[in-house]
């Protein structure tokens, strides 16, 4: 059989071809991202030339009501301010709700959980992360919003209305608050699983050192684990923020889709992703289209930056301590 092998040749051609094919695949990832950026920039030129940077903060006067107006497709006057406001408000509200819960869950799973519960709970967390956005939106719209409207909003209005954040002339249950709540459910698994990861990467010797000094369990967690893992936890939180910023379907179904800015969390609002989803296929004119694409471009850039920062933080913690993981 050596004859057979001798006749096989050296396959240098096939090896080189294979190498270049793999390089091609890797390069196509570049090309795709480049194409996306190119198209977003190209198609938003119209509004960029028309409004410049003011697109992101200007407001127009509505002659009839004398209230600020931001989104006027018919007259081709556009400002991204209400969408930026809505995105930020709903996302930060989501973080406010999700972070304590996610960290609490992570603490429970890594430090306190009895062995038999750990697997199923981790599985549930994975399931939560895998549920599509549309199903969250559907559930939020039909199950969550009525519950908020009947049981959660009234007490909040009653007790915290003096802050100006909880007023509602026309209670529908929709608005920034509802969006924040459903977003918090959606980003909770991400924050929790990353927190768990960085907590697990803290070596046991840290925990033992704290206990040896007479710490209670919570003190051990606080000093021995959380303090070491906090950079990574912040990274996980920022990653959750990144997800919340770009979330579309669930938000658009409960936020009310009104391009206005109000202080009350119960008023209808909008978000960058929501307005694109709602108005794109029925855009009135080219400027309208361009405005929506420019919002998309802004969302793209912000999400990249946020995700990059998050990756850096998480990487810094898990890479450095991976060798010490227990």
């Amino acid at each position: 059989m050596r004859q057979f092998l001798l006749a096989r040749g050296n396959s240098a051609f096939a090896d080189r071809g294979f190498h270049w094919l793999m390089v091609l695949c890797a390069m196509s990832i570049f090309v795709i991202v480049a194409l996306i950026v190119w198209q977003l920039v190209l198609r938003s030129q119209l509004t960029w030339e028309k409004f410049g940077i003011a697109f992101f903060y200007q407001s127009f006067a509505n002659p009839e009501t004398h209230l600020p107006m931001y989104w006027d497709p018919v007259n081709a006057r556009f400002s991204a301010l209400p969408f930026i406001y809505g995105t930020l408000v709903s996302s930060f509200l989501a973080l406010l709700i999700a972070v304590p819960l996610a960290v609490g869950l992570a603490i429970f799973l890594t430090e306190m959980c009895p062995g038999f519960l750990r697997g199923p709970l981790a599985f549930f967390s994975e399931l939560l992360a895998a549920i599509p956005s549309i199903i969250y939106g559907l559930w939020a719209m039909y199950a969550l919003v009525p519950v908020l409207r009947e049981y959660v909003d009234p007490p909040l209005i009653h007790w915290l209305g003096w802050t100006g954040l909880f007023n509602d002339e026309n209670p529908t249950g929709l608005g920034y608050f509802a969006a924040g709540v459903i977003l918090s459910v959606m980003i909770l698994p991400i924050i929790s699983s990353l927190t768990r990861e960085v907590m697990s990467a803290v070596p046991n010797s840290q925990r033992e050192a704290a206990l040896a000094l007479g710490a209670t369990r919570w003190e051990m967690i606080r000093v021995g684990v959380l303090r070491n893992a906090r950079v990574g936890i912040v990274g996980g939180i920022i990653l959750g923020l990144g997800r919340a910023l770009g979330e579309t379907m669930a938000v658009t179904m409960v936020i009310g889709n009104t391009p206005e800015i109000h202080r009350s969390l119960f008023s209808n609002g909008t978000s960058m992703a929501a307005v694109i989803a709602n108005e794109f296929t029925e855009a009135v004119n080219n400027v309208h289209l361009s405005a929506l694409i420019e919002i998309g471009l802004a969302l793209f850039i912000v999400t990249i930056i946020v995700n990059a920062v998050a990756q850096l933080l998480v990487w810094a913690v898990t890479r450095g301590t991976a060798s010490q993981a227990h």
Partner: protein, 252 residues
């Protein structure tokens, strides 16, 4: 049938590390040649230069000539072609984990496109017999995976796999160092049988093993070949003091 190996002015580098310096020697055909020396002396690197495995490391470099039979392996052939003529058995047994015993032995042929069923059956049987594994696995050839065997059996499987390709030279890099004494002696018996058909180069840190199986022995130290002579002479009356120090256990 085995062929002789002629090494001329072989130098090897790992990055800036000059691992082998000016190696010259002649390895006789159809003999077993042992290479001994302390850890890090370059004997593994040397052997990996003989089948061009050294250059799979991106920072590795080689200069000099190695002739296997008539063939200058660095200038007249490609690595792939060379490795079909020079087989290798590694320190830790490494059967292919997803393949059965049969597929493991036949891998060198099947992965190169050989598909004649009956012929493969014969080749697999002969290789397993040559590596003294046939009787233990002949009923489970296609049912058991290569990884389910014991350590000693896995190594004999790797030997069978290397033999199936019918190489002219068989390189063995400390083949028994990860095995128990019973498996080790089985492997050594094998080498005795195989050297009549192949040229064998065996790297070992076990001097008794070298004395048992090899006709010629080379002593490596710090990247140089200090002495190369018949095994008997190396172990009873070495010419170089460094060799004597090593074999009497003064270092290494």
């Amino acid at each position: 049938m085995g062929v002789g190996i002629e090494v001329g002015n072989l130098n090897a580098w790992y990055g800036t590390n000059h691992t082998l310096q000016d190696i010259n020697l002649h390895i006789p055909a159809n003999h077993a040649t042992a290479l001994i020396g302390p850890s890090g002396c370059g004997k593994s690197t040397f052997v990996r230069c003989l089948n061009r495995m050294h250059e799979t490391n991106p920072i590795a470099r080689v200069s000099g000539t190695v002739r296997i039979g008539e063939l200058d392996i660095y200038h007249d052939a490609t690595p792939v072609e060379i490795r079909r003529r020079v087989g290798m058995v590694f320190q830790r047994p490494n059967p292919f984990p997803t393949m059965s015993i049969y597929d493991n032995v036949a891998a060198g042929l099947k992965l190169n496109g050989y598909s004649n069923r009956r012929s493969l059956d014969d080749i697999v049987e002969r290789s397993l017999k040559d590596s003294a594994l046939w009787d233990e696995v002949k009923d489970d050839l296609k049912k058991k995976s290569g990884a389910s065997l014991s350590g000693g059996q896995q190594q004999r499987l790797c030997i069978a796999r290397a033999l199936a390709v019918d190489p002219e030279v068989l390189l063995m890099d400390e083949p028994a160092s990860a095995l128990d004494p019973v498996s080790t002696s089985k492997i050594e018996d094998l080498i005795f049988e195989l050297k009549t058909q192949y040229t064998i180069v065996i790297v070992t840190h076990n001097m008794q093993q070298a004395a048992r199986v090899a006709e010629k022995t080379g002593f490596f130290l710090n990247g140089r070949m200090v002495e190369f002579d018949s095994t008997h002479k190396i172990f009873t009356n070495p010419s170089d003091k460094r060799t004597e120090d090593y074999i009497t256990g003064r270092f290494g």
